[in-house]
Amino acid sequence: MTPLEVIFWIASAVILISAIMMVTRRNLVHAALFLIVTLFGVAVYYVLLEASFLAVVQILVYIGAIAILVIFAVMLTRQVTNPGQLFNKHASLALVMSILVFIGLYLALSVWPEFSAVAPEADTAAAISNLGTAFFVEEDGQPVYLLATMTASVLLLIPLVGAIFVARQKE
């Protein structure tokens, strides 16, 4: 086993175990903290996959913003974070369904010829600047993802305004 594989297995264990812990916690703050651990594990995955930009953005966006936001929400609604029942009445059906989806995904993927492909050698250092240019710069006279980037920025702006509007308390 190479060190990378060791790290991979540790990260996988962390991701899956903390995800399960997250789902089963009664205390929502603990659940949120486990969510953070999971997301951190995913960031480790990105490092392993040599997508360092995404790894850092994962930490910045998910842990720095989304998780904090979730914890805030949990704390602000904490009088009801501890209701009698953890799961709703469909829990067992949902469990079966989730397992079925997992099996289904596995089966569907396993027949795919590229399923156990091995990573090719690639110059991933160039990928970061390529990524930066892909967002804005034209290629062959066509802006490849420019429109998508602009749409995404609008998409970020609108929920910003919308969330403030929805959550604002009327005086």
């Binding site: 703050v29 360092s52 930009f53 910045l60 998780a67 904090i68 914890i71 805030f72 970061i128």
Partner: protein, 402 residues
């Protein structure tokens, strides 16, 4: 001239490890681990020195001596303090959330050490030479926020929770201008790699001349991120007892302190890297490290200086300053600088002057606008009604005199 003892040592160690039939990968991992321990040790060693320096400088500024009993110039005082911290009783509140409570101080230190991991001490001495170093610095800052939140919530103490909420609001708010102002040096250097940013400054000149305004914004928001006076609302003793770490004692409290001090020093290091050329102009690793630490210590001194001279800002003023002044100014900066650079990027020294001029124009404009706004909001200031003070009744005495 470029004699690099650390590289030679690492090469020797790698050869030694491979001669023990370890694979190359494992040797790399072990070397990285050793490097991590060294960087962390360095940061904590600096922390010990910092406590001494802080107290000494504070003493001098307040017209007293500071520590001078233990050892020469009181140099052993930090050791004594550490001993005291460690031997103190380590209390945990009964209703606290044990796991979070115990993880929070570790997280606080962790967040700062992560920054130290990418700081280039000199041209070749750097923990990890990350391609996305600047972004990484912004990202790991969020762990600090998390530590504050966890500490405040898990203490199960309303002052701690209040302090944590205030603190998080402050940290998140000032993370915005912090990251936005980081974009300017990144843009000027066309790279997010810290070492490349320093290298670029060697070519075209320090970015303090290109972007003084970004420097000012970065400096202010860094002060807020560290949570030092005038932004120490996280632990405003007179308002919320001691903030989010009110329940902590002993070495756990010490860890928070360590985090804060190390963060201050890391901020000073970032300022010197991003705006003052880091280890420039020294090319040799040894000399570079000396230059770098000299610059950093200077900025750390400035941070202490501000802490010891300025009073604390009121919380609404702090928020208003961020959202109504710093962030808009920063956005204007972000829009104008690339536009200007588009026209002047090939002009050499003229480019520098053009950037400097633009920054000055923006700075003056911003100050004028802010001044007007403050004048307009004058009635909003808290005004104390004139109190009845024991003043001799003037008119009557005059009458009597007449």
């Amino acid at each position: 001239m470029n004699y690099d003892p650390i590289a030679i040592f690492a090469e020797w160690l790698r050869e030694l490890l491979t001669s023990w039939n370890l694979s190359d990968d494992f040797a790399t991992v072990i070397l990285k681990l050793i490097g991590a321990v060294v960087v962390a040790g360095l940061a904590l060693g600096i922390f010990i020195l910092q406590t001494w320096l802080e107290r000494k400088v504070a003493g001098r500024m307040q017209d007293r001596f500071g520590p001078n009993r233990v050892g020469p110039f009181g140099l052993l005082q930090p050791i004594a303090d550490a001993l005291k911290m460690v031997t103190k009783e380590d209390t945990t509140p009964e209703s606290a959330d044990k796991v979070s409570y115990n993880i929070a101080p570790v997280m606080a230190v962790f967040a700062v050490l992560m920054i130290w991991g990418v700081v280039p001490y000199s041209s070749t001495w750097v923990g990890t030479d990350l391609d996305v170093g600047v972004l990484y610095i912004g990202a790991v800052g969020s762990f600090g926020v998390l530590a504050v939140l966890m500490a405040g919530w898990s203490s199960n103490n309303k002052y701690a929770l209040l302090g944590a909420f205030r603190g998080v609001a402050q940290l998140i708010s000032y993370e915005v201008p912090l990251l936005l102002s980081l974009v300017i040096p990144v843009f000027l250097a066309r790279s997010m790699n810290l070492n490349e940013i320093i290298g670029k400054q060697g070519d075209v000149g320090w970015f303090i001349v290109f972007a003084p305004l970004a420097f000012v914004i970065f400096f202010i928001s860094n002060l807020a991120e560290i949570g030092r006076t005038p932004f120490d609302l996280l632990e405003a003793e007179s308002e919320i007892v001691a903030g989010y770490h009110v329940e902590y004692s002993g070495m756990k409290f010490g860890l928070f302190q360590a985090g804060e001090f190390a963060h201050s020093f890391a901020s000073a290091a970032l300022i010197s890297i991003l705006f003052f050329g880091g280890w420039q102009p020294a090319a040799s690793p040894w000399l570079g490290a000396v230059v770098f630490f000299a610059k950093t210590t200077f900025f750390y001194f400035v941070i202490m200086w501000i802490r010891l001279t300025l009073p604390r800002i009121r919380i609404d003023h702090m928020m208003a300053m961020n959202w109504k002044f710093i962030v808009p100014l920063n956005i204007i900066l972000l829009m104008t600088v690339p536009l200007l650079d588009y026209f002047v990027k090939d002009l050499g020294a003229t480019r520098m002057y053009a950037h400097f001029g633009l920054n000055m124009v923006l700075l003056i404009g911003a100050i004028v606008v802010a001044g007007r706004a403050i004048k307009k909001s004058e009635p909003d200031r808290v005004r104390f009604p004139e109190r009845a003070v024991a003043v001799p009744p003037k008119e009557e005495t005059e009458e009597v005199a007449a």
